[in-house]
Symmetry: C2
Subunit: 314 residues, 2 copies
DNA sequence: ATCAGATATAGATATTTATCTATAACTAAC
DNA sequence: GTTAGTTATAGATAAATATCTATATCTGAT
């Protein structure tokens, strides 16, 4: 049997002949001429090296080899049908994988969107990568994921980004801090205190430092800490003061005090970022469409800035 | 997914690329050039309508759709491997069907050959048809079976026949018959008795009657009976005398007496007959080869006339 | 004896396919 | 920064394939 000379078309025709028991009838059904079907069968028999159909008393008779081939074909086409179903699901976004890499701070808000999406499409894998800005940027450079979440998206021509959430920063102090009960403070009032900061390159820190620089201010003392939680807890226990994303602070957390800094309103936005030079999985596209439609529903209208319609998802 | 534009070759190449993880390596293994393999993969992806392999950081990465297709291919090729095994068995004569139609008398001798053959090839189906000469001839005309057993083969150009067994006829009489103890009798001595005969057209009867005619003899009385057993039993019980194939008479059967007719030696031969205008199954060929080699072993050397080497079994 | 319907064969053709060579573009390693 | 090894693309060609039309042959029914 020489598989190289057998095409799926040939097998389709053969199956039809076995089913109808007639070459002419098959020709009619498949919109071919009778000689075409005759020839196909002949070629198939040559490729198999064994008679598959015999003319006996004006009737087509399927040989053992023919019957077995028919069964084989049924199985084979069955597998391809299954595969087609798989592709259909993949295309509909109901199956597949959507790898998302996000910076630390995003982990407080993105799960509110991922949870409902995952419930809607339980067959979609959603592996998450969380790292600091430098790490996520690295992954982005190598194109390791489908979607990236930044608050300062890298400006690369082979990338498209769209913001979806406002990210206001707040100044927090310990409850027993001298400024804790001051109604209105100014940025300069804070310079004398020790600041707890994230590592260099973090979006929050970049924003803060650029503000300081533009106003010619300099911190008197600062300590670097690896995570937002560490900073929050450290502030609560009196180690210093800090500037943190609003989303990192639970509204009912009373272990620190949020200052009302009247002359400074630091804020950035969260962006979904995709590389345009890399294949985007259907699942990823689908997730972004979902986000576009439901971001207000799951993240609340207060902070949402839904510009996801700017993304080209086709 | 458009199966029409997918060939088994394409899938083979794809599988090799997935296995080796490299287009160039596949090209080397399959004795192709690298652009050929590149193009094949590209074409396959177009036919599937989905990326199957991605270049990521200088590494080939198999997508979900690609992995699933790979699994599908494994199944599909598995089925064709099974089918190839089936064909191999079929070709070796170890599997398949060998339909044999034989005239009544042959059923006393052919099973001695069929038994051992069936033990050797338990997967070969051996449907037997037994009928009188007219019935078997009918089947032969319509080509319903692979092999026919006649003692007077039809002479058709689209048939080949070869004899394998001598078929001597014997005259039998009841134990209490006047001739039962006569040492030597002549054919004319028998004419006065009632003969029990098979139906018109039976080889035994044809042979006997043609002998009578050539010697100008006429039976005084005859009765027609449907089977050899019926005749044998009827003779034993005194209804008349008969002429029967030696093979029908068990050597230890003492319920009748075999006459020594000195002036008449009737005999024919058994023939295996095949149509040359019909496909002969491998199993049938194989059985005839087996018969050619083992007929003496299983039917004894006394009556065997092995001329099966005259058959063209290729 | 003719007809209708089946399959088979021959001859023709446009399309598709498999394959090559040459070349470009990228990257890792030396 | 040259080299060696990847994959991708373009252009060319010979072979194979899918079809068709026309025709032959057979058979069963009218």
């Amino acid at each position: 049997m020489d598989l190289r000379h057998i095409s799926f078309r040939l097998l389709e025709v053969f199956m039809s002949v076995v089913k109808t028991g007639s070459i002419s009838e098959t020709a009619r059904r498949l919109h071919l001429t009778q000689p075409t079907v005759s020839l196909q069968i002949k070629r198939l028999q040559e490729a198999v090296g064994e008679p598959l159909l015999l003319m006996q008393q004006q009737k087509l008779h399927v040989t053992d080899a023919g019957l077995e081939l028919f069964k084989t074909c049924q199985q084979v086409f069955g597998h391809f049908d299954d595969y087609q179903d798989f592709l259909t699901e993949l295309n509909g976004g109901a199956r597949g994988r959507c790898k998302i890499a996000m910076v630390n701070t995003a982990q407080y808000i993105l799960p509110k969107l991922l949870g409902p999406y995952s419930n809607l499409h339980p067959h979609v894998e959603l592996p998450l990568e969380i790292g600091n800005r430098a790490e996520v940027l690295d992954r982005f450079e190598r194109g390791e994921d489908d979607i990236y979440v930044f608050s300062h998206p890298p400006s690369l021509e082979s990338a498209q980004a769209a913001r979806f959430l406002h990210n206001p920063l707040e100044f927090i102090v310990p409850l027993n801090h001298p400024l804790a009960h001051v109604k209105a403070v100014k940025l300069t009032d804070l310079m004398q205190y020790r600041f707890l900061l994230r590592e260099n390159g973090s979006a929050t820190r970049m924003l803060f430092e650029s503000e300081l620089q533009s106003r010619g201010l300099v911190l008197s003392d600062s300590v670097q800490m690896a995570s937002n939680e560490a900073i929050r807890v450290a502030v609560a226990s009196g180690m210093g003061i800090a500037v943190l994303s609003r989303h990192v602070l639970a509204t009912d957390d009373t272990s620190f005090k949020i200052l009302n800094v009247t002359d400074t309103h630091l804020a950035s936005h969260w962006y979904f970022v995709m590389r345009t030079d890399r294949h985007i999985s259907h699942a990823a596209r689908n997730f972004l469409k979902f986000a576009q439609q439901h971001v207000e529903q799951y993240l609340g209208t207060q902070w949402v800035r839904n510009e996801l319609h700017n993304l080209d998802l086709n």
